[in-house]
């Protein structure tokens, strides 16, 4: 009896590594700490009513960003562990199995649980405010999207201490990721954790597509929308078309692994290459799902701090549309080297190169927005400016990779690793940090400190270059990705040392940013005007933080950059209106999203261990929540006029 319990515990918990025991202890301590603090300050009710059950897009956005920052910390620690291991040849800091798990979780977390939720957070905060709406089209679904993402992320992260992490790379290539070569629960965590959060992502795509199409303020035609809203509209379309392919691929892989089917297996005519096709049919558009929104952020920030309207607005929009279309016909460039015939590789080489054209056009339009401007070097602007040269390097190496015969030499080498980090860090990461500093006052009502912000920017940006520029050379020297160690004598050692120094520099930059957030929460300059930067778009007309209902009166729009036009005296005052207030119709909070996602987590955990006694009741719980929701008739309330008057008077907006 005791023996069987022991063997179960050995299978259930990850054992044998002191670092993991450390993690176990710190997870337990942190959980106890949170419970104690919440109980001591009697905050449970506050947590439930104000946050866990909220359907307010601003709060959901904040929760997305907090979760993404925590995940960024974990993905970053993964990166530093890898870099420590690779600093010198033949190190034994991590063994092969452990290293393989770490690079897998690093990739998956950074894309699925950092880049996407961070962007979803920023769009939740900014899009409804930018289009003059009071919430998104489906506020309940929005909360459900967040909690599904959160359940998926927690499930995926649990693999670290319970059962063992996945180790087939973030792209989870068959047949290595299949049950034949990779038994155990690790890959189950991957397919189920990513699937659960993917359902949330798909719902977010639909939600924002409808929100932007249907809920714009009167007068705001499509071509009067702010560029960030445009980027989210296009991104939502990509999400809606790309995610189903991934959902299907993950479902098929789950059926392969759990029920012994043969979609991607070596045996019985399965096609491992089919996985590569389905994965990248989602995976390449995914790159633009995390890039187009930051193009939108940069457009807003560059226009704001150059004090000019965006140069070539229509071309900016159409180039994003072109990118979104092209993004669906380039997926094969991720496996030029999988035996495709010359005509196939030729087609995908050319289609990939074509993406450089609209992207190049955007770069020049940003440069010409700066031209004849009056450039103000604030922290968000520094991130946006640094994006231009750094991302261009990622872009041109992308064109080099697009040339299939040359790609035969770059593929899977550190040249590739350098390229996609150049685009994803200089693009997505710089972009989300830019957006974070830019919209922070709108979220919390105070500004992040500029001095500390600039320190973190310079340290992070310079370290990023120290870290990733040498990788191009390393790749040309023949070092491939996902090697847990390398022999001495190949000339790789000095370059690897430099890369590790750069990686820790980026860690330092991130710590300064975290310190800035904590410091500014106490000492940060308050934003009393609602417009700390001299903004141009609607979100800066309301107070900071925005009231629950966003706008006491829905603004009427007659031009692009309505706030800039108002400041130039071209239109009337958007902040005050002489019309009397009317009660505002708002959605009710609901506990169902968080409970339903809890059931989803239970179901996912059950299926990971193939414990159907746990997985099936979990799914029944999910369905029960859906049924319960369909019987909720009282799902809205009205904010009375006197409350609106009180809120507006407090920010000096009562007319």
């Amino acid at each position: 009896m005791i023996e069987s319990i022991k063997s179960f515990l050995g299978y259930f918990f990850v054992t044998g590594d002191p670092m993991i025991y450390g993690a176990d202890a710190s997870i337990a301590l942190a959980s106890i700490g949170i419970v104690v603090v919440l109980t001591y300050f009697k905050k449970w009710k506050w947590l439930w009513e104000e946050w866990l059950t909220t359907v307010d897009h601003k709060r959901i956005g904040i929760m997305y960003i907090i979760a993404a920052l925590l995940m960024l910390f974990r993905g970053g620690v993964d990166a530093l562990m890898m870099r420590t291991q690779l600093t010198l040849p033949n190190l034994h800091f991590l063994n092969s199995e452990h290293y393989n798990q770490v690079f897998t979780t690093h990739g998956t977390i950074m894309i699925i649980f950092v880049a996407m939720p961070f962007i979803f957070g920023l769009m939740n905060i900014a899009v409804p405010l930018q289009i003059g709406a009071r919430d998104v089209a489906f506020p309940f679904l929005n909360a459900l999207s967040f909690w599904l993402f959160f359940a998926g992320a927690m499930l995926f992260n649990l693999s670290f201490v319970i059962g063992g992490s996945p180790d087939a790379g973030w792209s989870g290539y068959a047949p290595f990721a299949g049950a034949e070569l990779n038994p155990g629960v690790g890959q189950n965590y991957y397919v189920l954790g990513v699937q659960i959060s993917g359902i949330g992502s798909l719902a977010t795509g639909i939600n924002f597509l409808v929100t932007i199409i249907k809920m714009r303020a009167p007068g705001m035609t499509l071509f009067k929308m702010p560029m960030f809203t445009w980027s989210i509209l296009i991104t939502s379309v990509i999400v809606v078309f790309a995610f189903p392919a991934f959902t299907v691929a993950l479902a098929l892989m789950t059926i392969d692994r759990l029920f012994g089917a043969h979609f991607f297996t070596i045996a019985a005519g399965g096609s491992p290459m089919l996985w590569a096709n389905l994965f990248w049919f989602w995976g390449h558009p995914e790159v633009y799902i995390v890039l187009l929104p930051v193009f939108g952020i940069f457009s807003e920030v560059i226009a704001t701090f150059a004090h000019k309207t965006l140069f070539g607005y229509a071309v900016m929009v159409w180039s994003m549309v072109a990118i979104s279309v092209l993004s669906f016909i380039t997926w094969l460039h991720h496996f030029f080297t999988m035996g495709n015939t010359a005509p196939v590789n030729a087609f995908f080489s050319v289609s990939t190169m074509l993406i450089a054209i609209p992207t190049g056009v955007k770069i020049f339009n940003w440069l010409f927005t700066l031209n004849k401007g009056r450039i103000e070097f604030t922290t968000p602007m520094l991130w946006a400016l640094a994006f231009i040269p750094n991302f261009t390097i990622g872009g041109i190496t992308g064109v080099m990779l697009a040339m299939a015969p040359a790609d035969y030499q770059y593929h899977n080498s550190y040249f590739l690793v350098a390229h996609f980090h150049s685009t994803l860090i200089a693009g997505t990461v710089f972009g989300i940090f830019c957006g974070l500093h830019y919209w922070w006052p709108k979220m919390f009502g105070y500004l992040l400190d500029e001095r500390k912000g600039k320190w973190s920017f310079w340290i992070f940006m310079i370290s990023f270059n120290i870290c990733f520029m040498p990788m191009y050379f390393l790749g040309l020297m023949g070092m491939t990705r996902r090697m847990y160690t390398y022999p001495a004598g190949l000339g790789w050692t000095p370059i690897n040392i430099v890369i590790t120094i750069g990686a820790f520099g980026m860690g330092l930059g991130f710590i300064i940013m975290a310190w800035n957030i904590i410091w500014s929460a106490i000492h940060g300059k308050r934003d009393t005007t609602g417009d700390p930067w001299g903004g141009r778009t609607l979100e800066w007309t309301t107070s900071s933080p925005a009231p629950e209902y966003n706008f006491a009166h829905i603004p009427e729009i007659s031009t692009r950059d309505p706030l800039a036009a108002m400041k130039e005296g071209k239109t009337g005052d958007l902040r005050k209106s002489s019309k009397p207030y009317e009660p505002i119709h708002m959605p009710n909070n609901s506990g169902i999203p968080v409970i339903m996602s809890g059931f989803m987590f239970i179901a996912g955990f059950g299926f990971v261990f193939e414990w159907y006694w746990m997985g099936i009741p979990g799914l029944i719980g999910v369905v029960a929540c859906m049924i319960a929701r369909s019987f909720v008739y009282n799902d809205h309330h009205y904010i009375p006029v006197d409350e609106i008057e009180k809120t507006e008077a407090a920010t000096g907006r009562l007319s």
Binding site: A267, M353, R374, I388, Y408, Y472, G478, Y484
Partner: protein, 319 residues
């Protein structure tokens, strides 16, 4: 403007790349030792020149606008400068031209790589001759089978310099990629699709190869050496292996198919079964087929699949 200098630095590094390569033969991709790698090298250098041009234009404009319109000394501030159709058309057409200049040689090289490189070995009797080697990746080793010489090596292969070598690539289990950077770019090895890769070495020498697609625990150690020798030395080596090395028994072969890392080795012959290029599932079915009745049905199904692989979708990739 100290800020700007740190921003341009990576670009300078990248532009200095061709200079650095002049001093070092450690950068394998930029040190081509055969016609395939050389054609790819030419493409890489051509794209690097074009792309450096693009980067230079972006950086010059970037530095110019920041220096000129940075807030404190911004003269000529013009908030109404909101677009310029002519300029926008210019920077749409220039990238199109650059894409054409890159796409044409790309497609040419792609089609050229389908054919064997031109042999450069000197003796006239070698003209038009090629060598075929069957490569199988197994977790975590490389098997090289010489179908004409009837010998087998593990983790190294000897080839005649100046002669085109056709590597036929298979995987026994996980996907891997076969990459010898100094001789040419890589191809994957897969269980469901045999593929070919032409490579040729200019002159005798040892060229490092490694798997470039992650395949599990021993992946980092999945290296091999391609040893190019002149024609006489190659023939001598084949004879030496045939006479002095042990035969690869069926059991020895099955042992090699277990997931593990092994030392380089050579065998004077290989079992008949090896020629079938079975994958792991087919091999397991074959083994099981002998023991129980139930599984032999499975085995029969496997055989059918195998035929499909060889006659059907595999066919056009092979030649």
């Amino acid at each position: 403007m100290k800020n700007l200098i740190t921003m341009i630095k990576p670009a300078i590094l990248l532009l200095a790349l061709p200079l650095i390569t002049g001093c070092s033969d450690k950068i394998a991709v930029l040190n081509p030792q055969g016609p395939v790698a050389r054609s790819q090298y030419h493409l890489i250098i051509w794209s690097l020149i074009m792309m450096s041009l693009v980067l230079a234009i972006v950086l010059i404009l970037f530095v110019y606008v920041l220096a000129r319109y940075g807030r404190k000394n911004s003269k000529g501030f013009d908030p109404n400068d909101t677009g310029n159709r002519k300029l926008e058309i210019v920077w749409m057409i220039i990238p199109v031209i650059i894409c054409v200049l890159l796409a044409v040689p790309t497609v040419q090289t792609l089609y050229a790589l389908n054919h064997p490189p031109k042999a450069t070995a000197t003796p006239a009797k070698l003209a038009g001759k090629t060598l075929t080697i069957d490569v199988t990746s197994v977790q975590w080793k490389w098997l090289f089978r010489y179908p004409d010489q009837k010998i087998e090596t593990v983790n190294y292969a000897v080839i005649p310099a100046g002669t085109p070598v056709k590597f036929r690539l298979h995987a026994y289990d996980a996907m891997n990629a076969f990459w010898v950077p100094e001789l040419g770019g890589q191809q994957y090895t897969m269980t469901d699709m045999p593929m070919k890769l032409w490579l040729q070495a200019d002159k005798p020498g040892n060229y490092d190869g490694r798997s470039s697609n992650y395949s599990g625990r021993g992946f980092a150690h999945m290296t091999f050496t391609i040893m190019a020798r002149n024609a006489t030395d190659f023939d001598n080596w084949v004879n030496d292996v045939k006479q002095n090395k042990p035969a690869l028994s069926l059991n020895g072969y099955k042992k090699l198919l277990q997931p593990d890392t092994v030392k380089p080795q050579a065998f004077s012959s290989y079992p008949k079964l090896a020629e079938k290029d079975l994958n792991k599932a087919q091999m397991q079915a074959l083994e099981a087929g002998k023991s129980t009745k139930n599984d032999s049905m499975q085995g029969m199904k496997m055989d059918k699949n195998m035929d499909m692989d060889h006659n059907g979708k595999g066919g056009h990739h092979d030649d």
